[in-house]
């Protein structure tokens, strides 16, 4: 266990070192988030009948930008390069489980990616936008203390889900030269089915029912609903259990797949 914890900590600290790059990325997110909210405001001005109001939708979009780094865009770039260059063979020599090490590393990368950025987006959306005279597009406070607690619990699961999905995508590199294709497909699915393209409460019909089954929803939509209060705090137990099931499935599935593949890999390079 200590080996995994050390791997997690090392990766977390490394990523936390890249503050300047992360802040430049955050600027993009603020601009992009603003444009998204702004477009949604126009939709709201065009027609009535949305199940949640503009204020809630705006909050939802800002939370989405704050926790954007949980989205599944592909493997940890460091891990990707290790696999491509063959240096990953060194991980095979370590007296610890390969998949466990990868998961710990990816978890550190994901957690740090969010830790670097989320507070800038939250501060901008909650404090700066109202000060600029656009309170209607701002992030609102959580609906209730209990809802906020549920939000935090679901966010912990979101971190695990995010790392689980990313590490499973990394495993595609066993059979493909690059995980770019798998990453692109996973990225599209996670953006849409977690509510980053269109807030899921605005969808209806089969697409919404499908999104409720998939694991991506736990990366954004589920925790956000507790923040907004569209899910009652007591629903956290059943939702967390479902999401934890997905986390377990991803980890066990990835571990089994890695084990079955390890017998067949050829290491490139020396």
């Amino acid at each position: 266990m200590r080996a995994y914890l050390a791997t997690f900590r090392a990766r977390f600290r490394t990523v936390m070192g890249y503050r300047a790059a992360a802040l430049a990325g955050v600027f993009t997110q603020l601009f992009f988030g603003f444009i998204l909210v702004h477009i949604l405001e126009s939709w709201y001005a065009s027609g009535a009948g949305a199940p949640i109001g503009l204020a809630q939708t705006a909050s939802y979009v800002w939370l989405g930008q704050a926790f954007l780094a949980f989205q599944v865009w592909g493997p940890d770039p460091e891990l990707r390069d290790l696999i491509r260059s063959g240096e990953v063979a060194r991980d095979l020599l370590r007296p610890a489980d390969l998949f466990g090490l990868w998961f710990a590393r990816t978890l550190g990368w994901k957690a740090a990616g969010v830790a670097l950025r989320f507070w800038v987006v939250l501060a901008f959306a909650a404090l700066f936008l109202p000060a600029l005279g656009m309170p209607e597009l701002a992030l609102n406070a959580p609906a209730s203390p209990a809802g906020f607690a549920a939000f935090l619990a679901m966010m912990a699961l979101a971190t695990l889900t995010s790392a689980g999905l990313a590490v499973v995508v990394s495993c595609f590199q066993f059979s493909q030269v690059s995980a770019a294709g798998a990453s692109a497909i996973a990225g599209a699915a996670s953006m849409f089915f977690s509510g980053l393209i269109v807030p899921l409460p605005l969808l209806s019909g089969p697409v919404e029912r499908l999104s409720a089954l998939l694991p991506f929803r736990g990366l954004a939509d589920l925790p956000f609903r507790f923040w907004l209060g569209t899910l009652p705090p007591r629903a956290v137990f059943s939702q967390a259990a479902y999401q934890a099931g997905w986390v377990l499935a991803l980890i066990v599935g990835g571990w089994l797949y890695t084990r079955s593949r390890l017998g067949r890999i050829a290491v490139a390079g020396g």
């Binding site: 300047a20 790059a21 802040l23 430049a24 990325g25 600027f27 993009t28 603020l30 601009f31 992009f32 444009i35 998204l36 702004h38 477009i39 949604l40 405001e41 126009s42 939709w43 709201y44 001005a45 065009s46 027609g47 009948g49 949305a50 493909q176 030269v177 690059s178 770019a180 294709g181 798998a182 990453s183 692109a184 497909i185 990225g187 599209a188 699915a189 953006m191 849409f192 393209i197 269109v198 605005l202 969808l203 209806s204 697409v207």
Partner: protein
């Protein structure tokens, strides 16, 4: 060998090298197609929910969206080589480009034309064609000579504006290799904002996208002319023919920035 022929030879090499890994490429093209298809799915879902976007019906929205997306994807595929600028400048390998008898810009552009972005182009084209056909069958004569002229000029100008933003980003690499992601705000934010009718924009955003990064001037105004819609209350249609010219000063500025950067470039490597 003329510079243009040389460029096309480089492009040919890049295309051939990408075709070596066919299954990976196929997955990537599919992934890109899916990402953009899902984005349009989002637009469709919002249309279903709200009924119209500030008076624009779905085919009209799709017409603008497809038009902007095609120009963006083409520019994005052509300009992928600029992505290498950071590494080239940091390692000093940019020197090698300077020793060859071909413009460094053409060498960069010829470095890689990404086929996988073709998936995105195909999606933009599909949306555009669907919109064009359904508009024509419902009596919107977007294909009159003036409309076609405006669309052709607007498409070219749109590609030029997107390429200019990429060139500016590359030019800034001469000053700093860190934190250039902030330019993505204008690239992806600009694409997102200009894919929707600018009539819904706040005043400062109108100024930004009509004058600053003139995406609305070069793409929204021509589409308005073709569809016979007022771009903003009281604006004459002929502006759709004038708008594309806004690309010229913007491209000029990008070129000057690039030249200034090139002049002060000092090799960083040995």
């Amino acid at each position: 060998m003329g510079p243009v022929r040389m460029y096309f030879r480089l492009v040919g090499l890049s295309v051939r090298s990408q075709l070596r890994y066919r299954s990976a490429l196929a997955l990537q093209v599919a992934g890109q197609f899916l990402i953009t298809a899902i984005e349009f799915g989002g637009l469709y879902a919002l249309f279903e929910r709200f009924g119209h976007f500030r008076g624009w019906e779905l085919p009209e929205l799709a017409f603008l969206y497809g038009f902007v997306d095609m120009a963006f994807s083409l520019a994005d595929a052509l300009a992928y080589g600029f992505d290498f600028m950071g590494t080239l400048v940091r390692t000093g390998d940019f020197d090698r480009l300077l020793t060859r008898p071909l413009s460094p810009v053409l060498q960069l552009l010829g470095r890689e034309v990404t086929i996988r972005r073709a998936g995105r182009l195909a999606q933009g084209l599909a949306v555009f064609v669907w919109a064009a056909v359904s508009l024509a069958s419902s009596g919107t004569t977007w294909y009159r000579p003036l409309g076609l002229a405006a669309l052709a000029a607007g498409f070219l100008a749109g590609v030029v504006v997107f390429l200019s933003v990429f060139l500016m980003q590359a030019a800034l690499t001469f000053r700093t290799v860190e934190g250039l992601e902030f330019m993505n705000a204008f690239i992806y934010g600009g694409r997102q904002a200009s894919a929707y009718p600018a009539s819904g924009h706040r005043p400062w955003m109108r100024v930004l996208f009509l004058g600053g990064v003139p995406l609305a001037s070069v793409m929204y105004l021509p589409v308005c002319l073709a569809l016979g819609r007022e771009a903003f209350p009281g604006w004459p249609l002929w502006l759709g023919l004038a708008g594309p010219f806004a690309a010229a000063p913007f491209a000029g500025l990008a070129w000057l920035l690039w030249k200034a950067g090139l002049r002060r470039y000092q090799s960083g490597g040995g």
